[in-house]
């Protein structure tokens, strides 16, 4: 098949050809991957053995300074005119030992059990009141032991890197190149500038984003809920019991599938919501931008400014206001409609399952259109005007021009934006929580598991998790973290696809 043959095919034919080709070439590709596998494995092994190699190298070929570095980190550097670097290594080692001896060690030891004794209540005044004495706090143990593990990993990294560095310095000295402290300091602002700039952001990111995420994932494997709530009670590792409880359909061990049912409903609404919220904003915003951009329309700036007001007013104010205005009884919208005689009974804007969903999507367009409008305005002007002119000469209708010129161009340019919007809407907490608060509750029959209590028709997964941990009395962090993990996996998967395929990543160097 030649290129020209392929190009002469129609759309469906091309798709068919591609599909067939995909399956035809599958064995070949697997074979190729398989052939590469041993060498990949070897490379991986080499990387894994790197630290060991460093150690052996330093032990066999190192002089006394390098060998002393095994015991005192940074010794090689200090004795070879890299005093600051060496002292830093050494200080970290000393600090680590002190920390572990006084503090981290005991928490690490308690990690497998997460504490022995939670709280003792001692009765006073003839048993009428109690004094509570707290001992082990499982969450604290978990937190400090994860921090300790992080310190151990850092130590391991620094240990091997200082050995390697010491060997490098020794070899440099052997061929007569004396290292220079000044040069190292200069490099902070030059050759190793990336490290300099990234240090503070990474400390922030790792301590306040990554660390909590890691611990939350660990909590997914514990029984942290209202019966086991530190500091009053200990929590315990239950491994996969949470998963089993949540997703079993048998009524003896689980809840007869009510959780699963609620989960399915919420997941479905989350996806439906994300779809409609994204595309309604996108298309309506584009249309508004096109209307404002149309030839002959004056005061363009004024119209845009009106819409931008929505962005400028903090979202929570407009959302709370909207939820007040749309309240079924006593809300201004219903009252005015009644006064004008348009309706006789109140419309349940936010309290009927179906109407609430529609209302939320509509209010969301009210919030989202201005953003899309601003974004599209610039892009629409980039479309070459001669395309439109030639279409006009050929007698294309405005609708045809839109579907054949404007839309393909916009879709091409904004696909990454669309997908990131989709992902953002899956996690859109504000609109749902401040507007409907999750909306009318689900009605279940039978014994309702506590995690499901309070979940509403318009709850997204994220607001459900919020309720599960914050407002619901059950405080089931274990289950919530499992749900959170699932959202995370799905969303991260989509985002990585976008990221890997986005133009700005693929041809990053083209721009510069």
């Amino acid at each position: 098949m030649t290129t020209i043959e392929y190009l002469s095919m129609s759309g469906p034919q091309r798709t068919f050809f591609k599909t067939v080709d995909f399956f035809r070439s599958l064995p070949q590709r697997i074979e190729r991957k398989g052939a590469r596998f041993p060498s990949k494995l070897r490379n991986f092994g080499k990387k894994l053995m790197g630290p060991v190699n460093t150690c052996v190298d330093a032990a066999v070929h190192g002089d006394w300074r390098t060998r002393l570095s095994f015991l005192f980190m940074g010794f090689g550097q200090i004795t070879r005119h890299q005093i600051i670097r060496g002292v830093c290594y050494f200080v970290y080692e000393v600090a680590f030992i002190i920390y572990m001896a006084l503090f981290g060690g005991k928490y690490l030891k308690a990690m497998p059990s997460l504490g022995q004794l939670g709280q003792i209540s001692i009765p006073v005044d003839n048993q009428s009141s109690f004094i509570n004495i707290y001992y082990d706090n499982s969450l604290q143990i978990l937190l400090y032991s994860v921090i300790s593990i992080a310190f151990i990993l850092i130590l391991a990294y620094l240990y091997f890197s200082q050995l390697k560095d010491s060997m490098n310095l020794q070899r440099a000295a052997y061929i007569g190149r004396r290292s220079n402290e000044k040069q190292t300091l200069k490099n902070i602002l030059d050759r190793s500038y990336a490290k300099t700039l990234l240090t503070i952001p990474m400390i922030g990111l790792f301590s306040f984003t990554v660390l909590p995420v890691v611990i939350m994932i660990l909590i997914g494997f514990t029984n942290y809920n209202s019966y086991h709530q530190p500091p009053a009670a200990l929590i315990d590792w239950v491994l996969f019991e949470n998963w089993a409880n949540l997703f079993s359909t048998s009524s003896s061990s689980g809840d007869g599938g009510i959780f699963l049912y609620a989960f399915g409903m919420v997941l479905m609404w989350t996806l439906v919501w994300a779809f409609f919220a994204t595309f309604s904003n996108y298309f309506l915003g584009m249309i508004v931008a096109m209307i404002i951009n149309a030839k002959g329309v004056k005061l363009k700036k004024l119209w845009r400014t009106v819409l931008v007001t929505t962005i400028a007013v903090p979202q929570f104010i407009s959302l709370l206001l909207m939820s007040k205005m749309l309240a079924s009884s006593g809300g201004v919208v219903n009252e005015l409609l009644k006064q004008w005689g348009l309706i006789s009974a109140n419309i349940p804007w936010l309290s009927d399952p179906i109407i609430a969903k529609v209302t939320i999507i509509l209010v969301n367009t009210w919030i989202g259109i201005p953003y899309t409008m601003l974004m599209c305005t610039g892009l629409l002007m980039n479309i070459p005007a001669d395309l439109y002119e030639s279409a006009k000469i050929d007698g294309a209708s405005p609708f045809k021009t839109y579907t054949k010129i404007t839309l393909p161009y916009m879709l091409f340019v904004t696909t990454p934006y669309l997908i990131s919007q989709f992902v953002g809407n899956i996690n859109n907490f504000n609109v749902i929580y401040l507007l409907s608060g999750g909306g009318p509750s689900f009605v279940f029959t039978g014994t309702v598991p506590q995690q499901v209590a309070g979940v509403g028709e318009t709850d997204l997964l994220i607001t459900w998790i919020y309720k599960m941990t914050m407002t619901n009395a059950f405080n089931d962090y274990g289950a919530a973290s499992i749900l959170g993990l699932m959202i995370f996996v799905v969303v991260a998967f989509f985002s990585l696809i976008v990221f890997n395929n986005s133009k700005s990543i693929k041809n990053e160097e083209d721009y510069q």
Binding site: L143, V213, T305, V306, G331, V332, T469, Y477
Partner: protein
């Protein structure tokens, strides 16, 4: 000129006038829809008391505003100052960190660059409030769990993840500028502060604006940390408490008044810096 040609042009002009008039009507409707809630907000803030069926207040008064500044339970000025202080400090620090991160990822080449970018992208997708309980323990460890510094710390610590848009901007600045400066003996620090930053005014302003307006609308983090401690309330938490009170007749005008006072600084900023904002939004979208 030939009469038929004249007629042709006249009819075309007429058609265009009809089209433009139609567009104006449409735009007017759109504007009304978009402005109604804000008009309602301003109007209700001057109402004596909340009346369900009235768009405009029946009796005008400034009681709502007065209540905000005199009520001993709802100390609006305190929330406002809290938020303002948080927003100012956060804006500066967050901008600095975001720009440092994005410059590094855009200009400097190091081994873990691409994995780091991916990692930062996806780690931000974990529902952040789930980690709040852990963060709370960490703040207790640092002994700042009852002050507004904790909020600043949280906002600033996570700001590296927002590198995306400014990195896209830095990518568009030609590399030859850096190289020319390096040949003249500048180090990378000088290149960043003396060459790239002055050229990046739009993105600096955009990042500042976003970082400043973020804390004004944050409900989730603030409400969690301020549990049972009204000294730490920011406007979002405070007003949410106000609007969920039972006695709405009195408190709804106060809520509206609070909303107006909160929106004013941000609206002013947005309109002064609209140009930069639009540039940021457009640039971020195209780069994807």
């Amino acid at each position: 000129m030939n009469t038929s040609v004249k007629k042709h042009y006249a009819s075309r002009r007429a058609r265009r006038t009809v089209k433009v008039t139609f567009i104006y009507i449409l735009l007017a409707i759109i504007s009304v829809i978009w402005l109604i809630p804000f008009v309602y907000l301003v109007m209700q803030s001057f109402a004596e008391r909340y009346v369900a069926g009235a768009f405009f207040p029946e009796t005008w008064s400034v009681r709502g505003y007065k209540l905000l500044f005199t009520d001993s339970v709802y100390e609006f000025w305190k929330w406002w100052l809290n938020t303002f202080a948080i927003a100012c400090v956060t804006a500066v620090l967050q901008t600095l960190i975001t720009l440092m991160t994005s410059y590094t990822l855009s200009r400097l080449r190091f081994k873990l660059r691409k994995p780091l970018m991916k990692f930062m992208l996806i780690i931000g997708m974990f529902p952040s409030f789930l980690g709040m309980i852990i963060i709370y323990y960490m703040l207790q460890l640092l002994k700042i769990d009852t002050s507004i510094y904790s909020l600043i710390l949280i906002y600033v610590a996570g700001s590296a993840g927002g590198y995306y848009i400014s990195k896209g901007f830095f990518d568009t600045i030609p590399r030859s500028l850096d190289e020319a400066a390096m040949i003249d003996g500048a180090n990378k620090n000088t290149v960043f502060f003396r060459i790239i930053l002055p050229l990046s005014k739009p993105i600096v302003v955009y990042t500042l604006l976003m970082a400043f307006s973020g804390p004004w609308g944050d409900y989730m983090t603030a409400s969690y940390l301020a549990k049972g401690n009204s000294n730490m309330w920011n406007v979002a938490v405070g007003l949410q408490n106000l609007v969920s009170k039972a006695n709405q007749e009195v408190y709804f005008p106060a809520f509206c008044a609070g909303g107006v006072l909160t929106s004013i600084p941000i609206i002013i900023l947005f309109f002064c810096l609209q140009k930069y904002y639009v540039e940021g939004v457009t640039g971020g979208a195209v780069k994807g």
